[in-house]
């Protein structure tokens, strides 16, 4: 049971957040923080500072001491000056999504952002927090940019949106905290968590006749193609290289290449998620062993292939698979 005051606070907080979201709507990318969307309040340190100054003013009045009062007023004014500086540090800051990095459920997906500052003064100590946890403190140089990285542990597969992003700063004295709430449409993809190893893959098919042009095996030499970074070193045509023809990769047409097609229907009796987990496991294992594989989900067919991009494609298909919709399309 939560403490009533804390419950009230969180209720109030939720209301405020909803109001902010209604007011601002979904933010575009890239985003420039306008001064009207920046909120600012004193920090606890700021309140302590105010209390100290109150004591000083009272003491100065009590002793009728003008120099003491002068110091107190100077510090009062200093506090107000830093309020403006704090606000200015955030106002006009640019925010841009560079990339997202996918991950398996239970692991953090990453959002790589770029903080951009077109002003001729630096913007130090920009705090980025997702879900009220400060993840990065970044100094953005003048007329420059600084990368930042936010991560969210994926609770489920599919699109994981970046939760409420708060960009804040306490610059320069920590007496005030200026912040802006950003509701970006950033989302990263979380793949299903692979099932434990054990179940051997079903549906091993031997692909004959090179039906898939781009599926390459090891058996029949089919010619040379120019080397591309990423090609296996074992397949480089060293002889051709020695003849001064440049780097080439040997191409083979697979006649008895092992090629899997992992089929949704080959796993009857399992619920959706365990099925996806098992398919994910097979995809990973096949990729690890350098075997070609394809994927067959209700409504989705991915032809056998190899390579990192293919693996990504398959994993993404698993991540975004929605059984309800495919049922509809099947009917």
């Amino acid at each position: 049971m939560q403490h009533p005051i804390r419950r009230l606070r969180s209720l109030l907080d939720a209301r405020v957040q909803a109001w902010i979201k209604r007011r601002q709507g979904i933010d575009p990318d890239p985003l420039l923080l306008h001064r009207r969307r920046i909120y600012i309040l004193p920090t606890r340190l700021g309140f302590a500072y105010a209390a100290m100054l109150f004591g000083m003013v009272l003491g100065g009045m009590n002793y009728n001491n003008n120099l003491g009062l002068g110091l107190a007023f100077l510090l009062v004014s200093l506090g107000l000056v830093t309020m403006h500086h704090c606000h200015g540090t955030l106002s006009g800051l640019g925010l841009r999504l560079l990339a997202t990095e996918s991950a398996f459920v239970g692991e953090p997906v990453q959002f790589r952002l770029l903080l951009e500052n077109r002003a001729q003064v630096p913007r130090p100590r920009i705090e980025l927090s997702a879900d009220d946890v400060v993840q990065e403190v970044v100094d953005v140089p003048r007329d420059g940019s600084a990368p930042a990285r936010l991560q969210v542990v994926a609770p489920r597969r599919g699109r994981i949106p970046l939760p409420r992003l708060v960009v804040a700063t306490r610059h320069p004295l920590g007496l005030f905290r200026a912040w802006a709430v950003v509701h970006p449409e950033y989302s990263a993809i979380a793949w299903p968590r692979p099932a434990p190893r054990g179940l051997p893959p079903h549906g091993v098919e031997t692909d004959t006749g090179g039906a898939q042009d781009r599926a390459q095996g090891d058996e029949d030499f089919a010619g040379l193609k120019p080397y591309q970074p990423g090609d296996s070193l074992r397949r480089i045509a060293w002889k051709a290289y020695a003849r001064g023809q440049g780097l080439h990769t040997k191409q083979y047409a697979g006649t008895d290449v092992v090629s899997h097609v992992f089929d949704w229907d080959a796993l009857p009796g399992l619920d959706t998620e365990p099925r996806l987990a098992q398919l994910c496991r097979w995809v990973l294992d096949a990729h690890e062993h350098g075997e070609a594989f394809g994927l067959r989900l209700p409504g989705i067919v991915i032809e056998p292939n190899i390579g990192t991009a293919h693996r990504q494609r398959c994993l993404t298909a698993l991540a975004l698979f929605e059984p309800g919709r495919t049922h509809d399309s099947a009917h």
Binding site: M61, N65, L67, G68, F73, H84, A119, E136, D139, G174
Partner: protein, 651 residues
Amino acid sequence: MTRRTDDPMRGFGGALAALGLATAAHVTSLPAWVILLLIAIGAWRWLANRRGWPLPPQWLRATIAVIAALVVLGTYRTLNGIEAGTAFLALMAGVKLLETRSARDLTVIVFIAYFLLFAAMLRDQRLTQVPYLLAGAAFATAALMRVHAGSAGDSWREVLLRSAVLLLQALPLAVALFVLFPRLPGPFWGIAGKESARTGLSDEMTPGDVSDLTASGDVAFRVRFSGRAPPPALRYWRGPVLHEFDGRSWRRTRGQAFPLQEVEYSGAPIDYQITLEPHDRTWILALDLPVEWPEREAYRGFDFQLLSPRPITEVASYSLRSYPTYRAGAVLPKSIRNKDLQLPDARNPRAVALGRALAAQHREPQAIVRAMLTMFREQPFAYTMQPPKLADNAMDEFLFQTRKGFCEHYASAFTLVMRAAGIPARVVTGYQGGEMNPIGGYLLVRQSDAHAWSEVWIDDRGWVRVDPTAAVAPERIERGLIGALDADEPVPGRLRQQSALWLRAELTWDAMNDFWNERIVRFNAARQFDLLERLGFKEPDWRTLGLGLAASLAVFFLALSAYLGWKFREPARDWPARLHAEASRKLKRRGVIPGPSEGPVAYLDRAAASCPDLARDLAEIRAVYVALRYGPQPTEADLRRLKHLVNRLRT
């Protein structure tokens, strides 16, 4: 996680420096052990931070804190008041240093530094404190900045500079607050009495005291005369009047009430305003003899000394009127006569015998006075700041053996002999003379002008001032101390007398101090309203203050926002780009919206295609734009042409 880990002790050096600077302001008033303890703790903590030594355990810190509090309590008998509070605060800062491990702890240290600085201002608000205040505030602010919001690469110099800039930006509003913030008449709570050893007169005089005092060139008070200043021979500033004599020292009377004597005066009055430097005592120096004074702030004692109801702990100013020609007292009440004839038993027998002999020789009191002054003048008495030390029968030794003395010796011996001769007499201490400051237009009186003289009762003349020093060294009265002493005696300000430049520099500095005291230190509610009236507000009241405050806040905020907006501005885009943007703004009305990756030239082409009526203009805009942007030599004329074309564009 990619969260950058910051050193929690970042800014430790800064906090330590700020604390050190703030504590240094109290070096003269804090007990030595507090200072030494703080230095030891600071040095140890600094080393511990560098070498990674462990901090002392909780119980040890608590013990140190409790012991320190008890010792302060034992020393001052209170924790209230500036001195005790300062010592306590400084010690707590030391204890806090012992447990400093986080940014939060460092913040507490910085706050203590701010407060110590504030206490230093409470203790002493002379002009010389101002640079200290500013430097201390800049250091503490820099420390706070380093703890809280700097970037890792910031150098100390840079942080200090930035905090100085922040303070500079804060200055205008601080001045407005100072002038406009409503001043409530304090005190709200009791102010503990200060026990300090400020130089100045005391309520006791032992031969040797005044000559010690005159070694100080400090300012005692400043006087502004409404008319002409009186001549040096009339500048007797009356301070404590001493009645009790124990054979060696003179003291004020205590715990005894005497009837007040009437004063008759004649001739021209002297009106003046006297501004006293704080001396922590109740007396107000006044020109002989004060007859008018502010009723609530002062009263005149039975011996014509002006007194304040409260010790003067801050610079204080009084408007007074004195008459140099007066008759003080018509008849002498018995209690006063007895008091001022009192002689200690069995001390200074020869001096007493001298007095009795004089009384037997002359009938008139005036004749006795003259005879004694003649003795000082004609016998080999010498006036010196370095008189020989005197023992128990001090006045006998002085009158008949050493014969070297300062004003207090002469006043003391003279008064004693008069009493022995049956003439009521007392010692008056105060200041004599002063130096006109032509820059500030006031008379400057220093501690080195301290003086002692005598006052005797003569039946048909009342209390008459007799200055025996004038008999020995008339130059003292006319030309001041330096003129009266031999050239080899150490007197403050001898350099001043010898160098015109130095004199001018010193007088200028003093005039600045005077301005500071008058305008800043003594600023209060009344002067606040005076100032507002002079600024053109008719009959200012609290609402005027409130409005003024609100207006200055608004102006300040707007100005600061504008300044920061300018500071954080984006670099101005080049003119061709701006004009292109203006053109596309106009073309949007015709539904030609620039695509996200569409170049400026491609956009103009597309616009020309979709708006045939504008095609000619757009073609020219395109041509000039291309010439400006990509041409070998863009000219001003091209830019003007582009401006003209874009402005002419009608959509």
